[in-house]
């Protein structure tokens, strides 16, 4: 029992190092781009909105309000898309009997989660330095929201991986669902101020809940009427359980 847990950890650690190497390439600038590419793209978007003179829907910093949503969405998107190809690109690894397919998912999860911790720290400290940020009021809520986003991304990404390997057309169908998330997750607005008809629809988006959770973590006086912690957590856990069962059941058809 103890040995098999140790084996599992060893395998996932080795895979994570390998994933790091595959994602970032050999050069050290690879790491730089992996961290700064999302930072630059979010900054660019924010600059645009500053230039057209948008006011922040909450607090004084438009940048901070944006970041709480956009960085959360980026983490989710990265997980759901990159896990989708975990099985197909890692097929050769299955020649080592101790490596099972879920290990490749866990490896990608740990790499992406670590990268996004770095991205978040750099970004929010950067905002603080240029005077557009603030220290989080409830840091623990930020951490919970981050972990819940990982759970959701991992669940959806794992299911994507299984479906994608069954039929590669899944990548196009997945996009149809993923695209509108940017508009449905409260990037530009405070969900609680939306009309009740809109809230009735929006509240089904689990990412909206984690965005709200993140905001409650940052602002001391942000109260969300929409946020229900149990929903994203329960959904995330359910998705992960379904994905792991589905993986185990379909494993024989895949190898």
């Amino acid at each position: 029992m103890f040995y098999s847990i140790w084996l599992q950890i060893r395998v996932i650690a080795a895979l994570t190092l390998r994933e790091t190497r595959m994602t970032f390439g050999t050069s050290h600038s690879g790491y730089f781009w992996a961290v700064f590419q999302p930072i630059f793209s979010v900054s660019f978007l924010m600059t645009l909105f500053y230039l057209i003179g948008r006011q922040s829907p909450f607090g004084t910093s438009l940048a901070l309000f944006f970041a709480t949503a956009v960085l959360t969405l980026e983490l989710y998107n990265k997980l759901s898309v990159s896990l989708m190809r975990a099985f197909t690109t890692n097929k050769s690894l299955l020649s080592y009997p101790m490596i099972k397919e879920p290990d490749t998912l866990f490896a990608r999860l740990s790499l992406i989660a670590c990268t996004f911790i770095v991205i978040n720290v750099i970004f929010y400290s950067g905002l603080l330095v240029v005077g557009l940020g603030q220290l989080p009021a409830h840091p623990e809520r930020l951490i919970y929201a981050f972990l819940t986003t990982c759970l959701l991304g991992f669940g959806v990404g794992s299911i994507n991986a299984i479906l994608y390997q069954k039929n590669q057309a899944w990548q196009h169908i997945e996009k149809i669902f993923a695209r509108p998330l940017f508009f449905l997750s409260g990037v530009f607005y405070i969900p609680s101020t939306m009309p009740p008809e809109a809230i009735a629809v929006l509240k089904w988006n689990p990412l909206l809940h984690v965005v709200e959770w993140t905001r409650e973590g940052f602002y001391s006086n942000y109260r969300s009427d929409v946020l229900n912690i149990a929903y994203p957590l329960g959904l995330g856990a359910a998705l992960v359980i379904i994905a792991m069962f589905a993986e185990r059941i379909t494993r024989k058809q895949r190898v």
Binding site: R18, P97, R251
Partner: protein, 216 residues
């Protein structure tokens, strides 16, 4: 211990059903060098991949308590974009070996010199085979799987690798597929014959070879 328990393996390719094993149970004698024989297409390599854990049976289970190698000379597990060194490090990490000492042994054995620092996709197939062979020797498996290939590379390297494998299996055992009676006699203590989706055990290699001549 390596054992098949009620293993059934069926391939279904484009509507053609092929039964490799039908509810076969077989225990590979412990610490013995086992020959695996059968006619072409009997599914010997598939069985070997099931022993290695690369392939799963359709039903039943394969039990494996010893550290089993991948089929020797098999280089499919390498990643072409990573360098030789990185691939070696990865595999030894996965097997829980001391990374640097494995690397040292591979460097010395495979004689790839500076190429080891280049991505595997730049290697010739011979170079890849040398690396894979060196790596499986360095990892010290308890059971080596040999699918026809007992040596790789050019003439000189073939001699060297054959000798290295022979040294290695003094402290390990082999499960071997071969159609060469001489190789089987050289390496194996006992054998198993795959025939009609079933497995038959032979304590004596000569008996196995006799039946092999009769049926194949």
């Amino acid at each position: 211990m390596i054992a098949f328990e009620n293993v059934t393996k069926i391939y279904n390719v484009k509507g053609v059903k092929k039964v490799i094993l039908d509810d076969a149970s077989y225990r590979f004698a412990d610490k013995k060098n086992v020959a695996l024989m059968g006619h072409n297409g009997a599914g010997k390599s598939t069985m070997m991949r099931m022993v290695a854990g690369i392939e799963l049976p359709t039903s039943g289970r394969v039990r494996r308590t010893e550290k089993v190698s991948w089929p020797m000379g098999f280089a499919r597990g390498f990643n072409g974009l990573m360098t030789g060194v990185e691939n070696v490090r990865f595999v030894s990490r996965v097997y829980g070996c001391h990374t640097e000492s494995v690397l040292e042994q591979v460097q010395e054995f495979a004689e790839l010199g500076k190429s080891l620092a280049l991505p595997i996709q730049t290697y010739s197939s011979g170079m890849k085979a040398r690396l894979a062979f060196g790596l499986s020797l360095a990892i010290s498996f308890e059971c080596y799987l040999i699918d026809e290939i007992t040596a790789v590379g050019d003439r000189r390297f073939k001699k060297k690798s054959e000798q290295a494998l022979k040294d290695k299996i003094k402290n390990a055992r082999v499960v071997m597929i071969s159609h060469s009676e001489k190789t089987i006699k050289d390496y194996c203590d006992c054998g198993v014959f795959a025939y009609g989706s079933k497995l038959y055990h032979y304590d004596d290699v000569n008996e196995l070879l006799k039946d092999y001549r009769k049926f194949c």
